[in-house]
C-alpha cells in the first residue's frame, strides 16, 4: 500500500489525544444541581489513579473516525481488493535514452542502476523495460521476466542513447497505459537525468493513476557534488552540468560571400553568479577556417551574433561547418553543418499555354495583362519573370523554373491540357482563363465597349456596376480571407464551369467562380483564375488585393515542394513525391520502392541531410532539440511531486482513458539511432500491449481495478461520516452535550 499524501499519516499521532482525554480528563466528579442535601450521604471523591477508561464506545468511535479521516486525506492506494492484494507485482522500468543521457556517465549510471534492480528480482519475476525519449519503445515486453530484461539491456548498452528529447509526460502516459492493461499491480521505476526541460506543460500529465507506485531514480550524477557558488542555487544542492548549444544559418546574396548568424544558448539552472560560458566559434569549409568569434553566454541565455565570410569556397552548393573550438560535455550540439542559402527571387515563367498544335496560343493576350502580372510578380523582388522558351516547337517553361503563370483560353481544351501537363511535370501553374472567342456577330462579355475599368462596357446585366467578391474560402492556405476585396469589382469574369473535384476558392456575389484549385496529382499545384486581367473585365489588376493575391499564390506555390530550413531530431518532415533522402554520411535512406510512396521522413540524428528530386538537391539541417541541450535538472520538489503522482484522483486520472492504440501509434522503434522512414511502419508497442492484455495471470483482478483505485473514497468517506454521526449521537446521549448551543 502506498499513499498519495503520506504526510497526512502524521495525523494518526493525534489518536492519542482522545485516549488521553478519556483517560485523564474530567478528574473532578461531575457537578449537578440538586434541591437539597438533606437526604444525601457523601462518599469519598473518586481518585483519578483508580479511574479506568470511560465511555469506551465513544472513545472507539472517536479513534476510528480520526483514523478514517487521516487515511482519507493520506489517500491510500491499495492495489487490489481481496487475496490478490499481496500478489506479485509487475516491475516496469523506464530508461531515459534521450540525447542528454549522452553526458558523461549518465547512461552508464542508469544502466548500472537498472541492472541492480533487475538482479535484485527473482529471475522469473514479471518485469519489462521501456526506453523513452520523445517516444517510448518497449525493449522487453511487460509479460517478460527479469532475466529477459537483463539480456535486453546488453543490446541497449551497445547502442547508447539516441538524439531524441525526453518527454516525461509521454512516458508517464505510456506507463499508465501499460498499467491499464497489466493484470498485476504495476510498480514503475524511471531512470533519468530529470531534465527540467522534459517536464510537460501541465504537471497533471505526470500523473499515472493506474500505477501502484512510481520511483524516479536520478542519474544526472551531481548528487554528491556540492553546489558551487552562492546559496541561491538549486534547492537540493545539486550542481547542473554546464553546456552550450550552437545553432547557425548562412545566407548569401551574391553567391560570393556569406552572412552567418550564430546562436549560442547557455544551459540553464546554474547558480546565480556563475561565470558565463565562454566559447570560441570557428567557421570552416573543407578544413579551412574562414572566420572565428569569441562569445560568453550567461546561464539560460541565448546570444545571437553575425559573422561575415567575404569569400566562400568556389564549390557548388557550399556548406559551412560552424562549431565550438573546444567541445563541451555534449559535443553533438557544439557543431552544425549548414548550407549557404542564396537569397534570390523566385523565377516565374509567364506566357500562353501551348495549344494542341504546340503553338503558343491565340496570341490575344492583353499586353496590359502581362504588364499587370509582371509588375505584381516582381513587387518587392519577390520573383523574376521569365518568358516561355521554345522546345520541340512548343512554348514550354524553362528548365529550373518551378512556377508559371499561363494564359489559357477557356474554350481551348488543348491549352488547358497543356497547362495540366506542365503541372504534372512538377511546376506550379496559375492559369489565367481568357474568355471564349465569340462567333462573328455575337456579342460576348469580352467585347469592347465603353465602361468598365478601362472604358469597357461590361456584360453585367447592363448595370455597369459589376459585382464584388462573394464567398471566399478562408480555410485555404492561400489565406484569401486576409486580403481586402472591398473595392474589387468584376464586370465580366470569364465564364467557367468547375469540373468535378475542383475546389472553388473564391466566387462573385452572384456565385460565378473566380478562383479554383484543380487537383492534378503530384505535388505541384494548379490554380484557375477566371479573369483575363486585362483591366476591362474587372478592377482586380488595379487593386492592392491583386498584389496580395499574387504574393499569396507564390507563397503557396513555394510551399508545395519546399523543405523547411531546419527541423529537430524526431520531427516528421513532409516529403515531395519521388525524392531520395541522403543522411549526413551521404547514404540513401529510402529503398527504391519507398522513394515513390514515402510522404514523411523522420530524421533521428542531427546533421545535414540532402533531399534529391527532379528539381535538384536541397539541404535539410537537422538539429537536436534545443530543450535537450539544457541540462538544468528539476528541483527536488518537482521530482518528489512527480514520483507521488500514482493512483491519485487528480486530473491526471483522465489520462488513463487514453487508448493504448493511440499510445502505440505514438511509439516507433528507435532502439537504433538511425534514421528511419515513418510511413506505415507498425508499432512494436502495439504488440507489447496486446501481449500484456492477453496475459492470464491475475485476470480476475483486472475487473476490481477500477473500484480499487478509489476505494478510499468509496469506503473511507462514508465510513468517516458514519463514525462522526455515531460519535455525535453517542456523545449527546452519554455526555449531556448540548451541541445546539442551548
Amino acid at each position: 500500500m502506498s499513499f498519495v499524501a503520506p504526510a497526512f499519516l502524521a495525523g494518526l499521532a493525534f489518536l492519542a489525544l482522545p485516549w488521553l482525554l478519556h483517560r485523564f480528563a474530567d478528574e473532578a466528579p461531575e457537578v449537578r444541581p440538586f434541591p437539597t442535601d438533606r437526604f444525601l450521604e457523601a462518599v469519598p471523591p473518586p481518585v483519578s489513579r483508580t479511574r479506568r477508561l470511560r465511555h469506551r464506545a465513544l472513545l472507539a468511535l472517536r479513534l476510528l473516525a480520526l483514523a478514517a479521516l487521516c487515511l482519507l486525506f493520506a489517500g491510500p492506494l491499495l492495489d487490489r481488493f481481496g487475496p490478490s492484494a499481496n500478489a506479485e507485482r509487475l516491475h516496469l522500468y523506464a530508461l531515459d535514452t534521450s540525447w542528454s543521457m549522452r553526458a558523461p556517465g549518465r547512461f552508464e549510471r542508469a544502466l548500472d542502476a537498472l541492472r541492480s534492480r533487475l538482479r535484485a528480482l527473482p529471475a522469473d519475476a514479471a518485469a519489462g523495460v521501456v526506453a523513452f525519449a520523445d517516444r517510448t519503445v518497449t525493449l522487453t515486453p511487460a509479460d517478460g521476466t527479469a532475466s529477459d530484461a537483463l539480456g535486453a539491456l546488453d543490446g541497449l548498452a551497445r547502442t547508447g542513447p539516441g538524439y531524441g528529447r525526453a518527454d516525461y509526460g509521454e512516458v508517464m502516459r505510456r506507463l499508465d497505459g501499460l498499467a491499464a492493461t497489466a493484470p498485476l499491480p504495476v510498480e514503475a521505476v524511471v531512470f533519468t537525468d530529470v531534465q527540467a526541460s522534459g517536464l510537460p506543460a501541465r504537471s497533471a500529465e505526470l500523473l499515472a493513476p493506474r500505477l501502484t507506485s512510481l520511483e524516479v531514480v536520478r542519474v544526472d550524477g551531481s548528487a554528491d557534488e556540492p553546489a558551487a557558488g552562492p546559496p541561491d542555487g538549486p534547492s537540493d544542492g545539486r550542481r547542473p552540468v554546464p553546456n552550450a548549444r550552437l545553432d547557425a544559418e548562412a545566407t548569401s546574396v551574391d553567391g560570393v560571400g556569406a552572412r552567418i548568424v550564430v546562436r549560442v544558448t547557455g544551459s540553464g539552472g546554474m547558480p546565480a553568479g556563475t561565470d558565463p560560458v565562454r566559447r570560441r566559434i570557428t567557421v570552416s569549409s573543407g578544413g579551412e577556417v574562414l572566420a572565428d568569434l569569441d562569445v560568453a553566454v550567461p546561464s539560460g541565455a541565448t546570444l545571437e551574433r553575425t559573422l561575415d565570410v567575404p569569400a566562400l569556397p568556389p564549390v557548388e552548393d557550399p556548406a559551412l561547418d560552424i562549431a565550438f573550438e573546444v567541445p563541451d560535455a555534449l559535443p553533438d550540439d557544439d557543431a552544425v553543418r549548414v548550407p549557404v542559402r542564396e537569397v534570390r527571387p523566385v523565377e516565374v515563367a509567364l506566357g500562353t499555354a501551348a495549344g494542341s498544335d504546340g503553338s503558343s496560343g491565340r496570341g490575344d493576350v492583353s499586353e496590359a495583362a502581362a504588364t499587370f502580372l509582371g509588375t505584381a510578380l516582381e513587387t518587392d523582388g519577390r520573383a523574376r519573370v521569365e518568358p516561355l522558351v521554345e522546345r520541340s516547337g512548343a512554348a514550354t517553361v524553362p528548365a529550373g523554373v518551378a512556377h508559371a503563370v499561363l494564359f489559357v483560353p477557356v474554350d481551348d481544351a488543348a491549352a488547358m491540357a497543356g497547362a495540366v501537363r506542365t503541372v504534372e511535370r512538377g511546376i506550379d501553374v496559375l492559369a489565367v482563363l481568357l474568355p471564349a472567342v465569340a462567333p462573328p456577330g455575337t456579342a460576348t462579355g469580352g467585347g469592347a465597349g465603353a465602361g468598365g475599368a478601362l472604358g469597357r462596357e461590361g456584360t453585367d446585366a447592363g448595370t455597369g456596376e459589376g459585382e464584388g467578391v462573394g464567398r471566399v474560402d478562408e480555410a485555404h492556405p492561400l489565406a484569401l480571407g486576409d486580403i481586402d476585396w472591398y473595392d474589387v469589382r468584376f464586370y465580366s469574369p470569364t465564364p467557367f464551369a468547375p469540373a468535378d473535384g475542383d475546389a472553388v476558392l473564391m466566387e462573385t456575389e452572384r456565385g460565378a467562380p473566380l478562383l479554383v484549385e484543380r487537383p492534378v496529382g503530384g505535388n505541384a499545384r494548379l490554380l484557375l483564375l477566371a479573369d483575363p486581367l486585362d483591366g476591362e473585365a474587372s478592377d482586380l489588376p488595379f487593386a492592392p488585393a491583386f498584389v496580395d493575391l499574387v504574393g499569396a499564390t507564390l507563397d503557396w506555390f513555394g510551399a508545395s515542394g519546399a523543405l523547411p530550413a531546419s527541423v529537430r531530431v524526431g520531427e516528421s518532415v513532409p516529403l515531395p513525391a519521388n525524392v531520395q533522402v541522403l543522411d549526413p554520411d551521404g547514404d540513401a535512406l529510402l529503398a527504391l520502392g519507398d522513394a515513390a510512396a514515402a510522404s514523411t521522413f523522420v530524421p533521428e540524428r542531427p546533421g545535414l541531410y540532402r533531399v534529391v528530386d527532379g528539381r535538384g538537391e536541397r539541404s535539410l539541417v537537422v538539429l537536436i532539440d534545443a530543450r535537450e541541450s539544457d541540462l538544468a535538472p528539476m528541483d527536488g520538489a518537482a521530482v518528489s511531486g512527480w514520483s507521488r503522482g500514482t493512483r491519485g484522483s487528480g486530473p491526471g486520472a483522465d489520462g488513463g482513458d487514453r487508448s493504448d492504440a493511440n499510445a502505440a501509434d505514438a511509439a516507433t522503434d528507435t532502439a537504433t539511432p538511425t534514421a528511419s522512414v515513418r510511413a506505415d511502419d507498425p508499432s512494436p508497442d502495439a504488440d507489447a500491449s496486446a501481449a500484456i492484455a492477453d496475459t492470464s495471470r491475475g485476470a480476475s483482478s483486472v475487473a476490481a481495478d477500477a473500484p480499487a483505485r478509489l476505494w478510499h473514497l468509496y469506503v473511507l468517506l462514508p465510513l468517516a461520516a458514519l463514525l462522526l454521526f455515531g460519535e455525535t449521537l453517542l456523545a449527546n446521549r452519554r455526555l449531556d452535550v448540548r451541541r445546539d448551543g442551548s
Binding site: 473532578a28 466528579p29 461531575e30 457537578v31 449537578r32 444541581p33 440538586f34 434541591p35 437539597t36 442535601d37 438533606r38 437526604f39 444525601l40 450521604e41 457523601a42 462518599v43 469519598p44 471523591p45 473518586p46 470511560r54 452519554r734
Partner: protein, 315 residues
C-alpha cells in the same frame, strides 16, 4: 349530587369533551409555552371546572345559620317574607359564610424551587397559585398572596377589589428563586398578618423539618383557618439517577456532596419517602391534606384531586 348534563347535539358534545380533555391534559411543558400567568391560570381552571362538572366553593357556605330581627340598613333582599307573613315581624336570614372567604396563598420562592427540567418547581408553584387565585376571584373571595424563602419576601394583603387578581398574578410573575428556606419564620410572619379566617394554601417543596412544618401550620389551624398544603416536586428529586459518581450541589447552600449512584437508588429514596410520610402525618394533624404536585404531570389533575377531597369533606 349528579351533575345535570347540558343538552347539546351529540357531535358537539363529543367534540367539547374531547377539547376539554385536551385542555385538561395539558402537559407542564405546554403550559410553560403559554407565557402569561393569567392565561395559564385560566386554562388550568377551565380544565378543572370541566372535570368537576360544577363550580367548586371552597370555604364559602350557603347553609342557614339563624334569623335576626330586621334593623335599619339591612338589605331588604334578605328579609324572610314568609316569616313576616305569618308573624308580622321582619326577620333577616343569616347564613354561614355570609361574608366572603379569604384565600391566602403562601408560595415558596427559595432556591430549591429552582429545580426541574423542562419546567422548574417554581414555575409549577406559580401556576398552581395563579390557578387557585383565579378560582378564588371567580367566587369573589378575598385574595392574599405571599412569597417567602428565608423570610417573608413579598406580601399582598387580602383584598376583594377587582384588581386583586391582576396584582397577585403580577407578584407571582416577578417572583424569582431566592435564597434558603425558613418555613417556620415565614409562617410565623404570615400568621401575624393574616387575622381573618379563611383558607391558607401553602405551595412549597417542604424541605423542612416535619415538626417545624407542623408547628407553623398549627398556628393557622388553631386560628380557625383551613390549611391546604401543596408539595411541588420534580421527578429528578423523587427518584434521582446518576450514571456515575457525581457531586450534587445544594441549590440553597451551594455545597457539593459527592454521591454514589447506588446510594441514590436505595438510601436516598428511603430517606425521602420517610420525610414525605412525616410531612403527611404532620399535615393530617392540623386537618390539612398534603397534595403532591409533580412537575411532569398535568397541573389540573392535581388540582382536581384536591377539590374532590374537599368536596368529600376533607380539608
Amino acid at each position: 349530587m349528579t351533575p345535570t348534563p347540558t343538552r347539546t347535539p351529540a357531535g358537539s358534545a363529543t367534540r367539547a369533551n374531547a377539547a376539554a380533555d385536551a385542555v385538561r391534559l395539558l402537559r407542564p411543558e405546554v403550559l410553560a409555552r403559554l407565557g402569561s400567568l393569567e392565561l395559564v391560570a385560566k386554562t388550568v381552571v377551565d380544565g378543572v371546572l370541566t372535570g368537576l362538572h360544577r363550580s367548586p366553593h371552597f370555604g364559602h357556605s350557603q347553609e342557614f345559620a339563624e334569623y335576626r330581627a330586621y334593623g335599619d340598613g339591612d338589605d331588604l333582599r334578605f328579609v324572610d317574607w314568609n316569616v313576616y307573613a305569618r308573624t308580622g315581624r321582619a326577620y333577616v336570614k343569616r347564613f354561614h359564610g355570609d361574608t366572603s372567604m379569604q384565600l391566602t396563598l403562601l408560595v415558596d420562592a427559595s432556591a430549591s424551587m429552582d429545580f426541574g427540567d423542562p419546567v422548574s418547581k417554581l414555575d409549577v408553584a406559580r401556576w398552581l397559585a395563579a390557578s387557585l387565585a383565579w378560582l378564588a376571584r371567580r367566587q369573589r373571595d378575598a385574595l392574599s398572596v405571599a412569597t417567602f424563602d428565608e423570610t417573608l419576601r413579598e406580601f399582598q394583603p387580602p383584598s376583594t377589589r377587582p384588581d386583586a387578581l391582576p396584582r397577585a398574578l403580577g407578584l407571582l410573575q416577578r417572583t424569582v428563586p431566592g435564597a434558603g428556606t425558613d418555613l417556620v419564620a415565614a409562617l410565623a410572619s404570615l400568621r401575624a398578618t393574616v387575622r381573618r379566617r379563611g383558607l391558607v394554601a401553602l405551595v412549597s417543596d417542604l424541605y423542612a423539618d416535619p415538626d417545624d412544618v407542623l408547628a407553623g401550620l398549627q398556628a393557622f389551624a388553631h386560628a380557625g383557618h383551613d390549611v391546604a398544603v401543596f408539595r411541588v416536586l420534580d421527578p429528578g428529586e423523587i427518584e434521582p439517577r446518576l450514571a456515575r459518581t457525581a457531586a450534587l450541589r445544594d441549590l440553597e447552600k451551594g455545597e457539593d456532596v459527592v454521591v454514589d449512584p447506588a446510594f441514590l437508588e436505595r438510601g436516598y429514596r428511603e430517606r425521602f419517602r420517610a420525610h414525605h410520610e412525616a410531612l403527611d402525618t404532620a399535615c393530617r394533624r392540623v386537618g390539612a391534606t398534603l397534595v403532591t404536585v409533580r412537575t411532569d404531570e398535568p397541573l389540573d389533575a392535581a388540582l382536581q384531586a384536591w377539590l374532590r377531597v374537599r368536596e368529600r369533606g376533607g380539608r
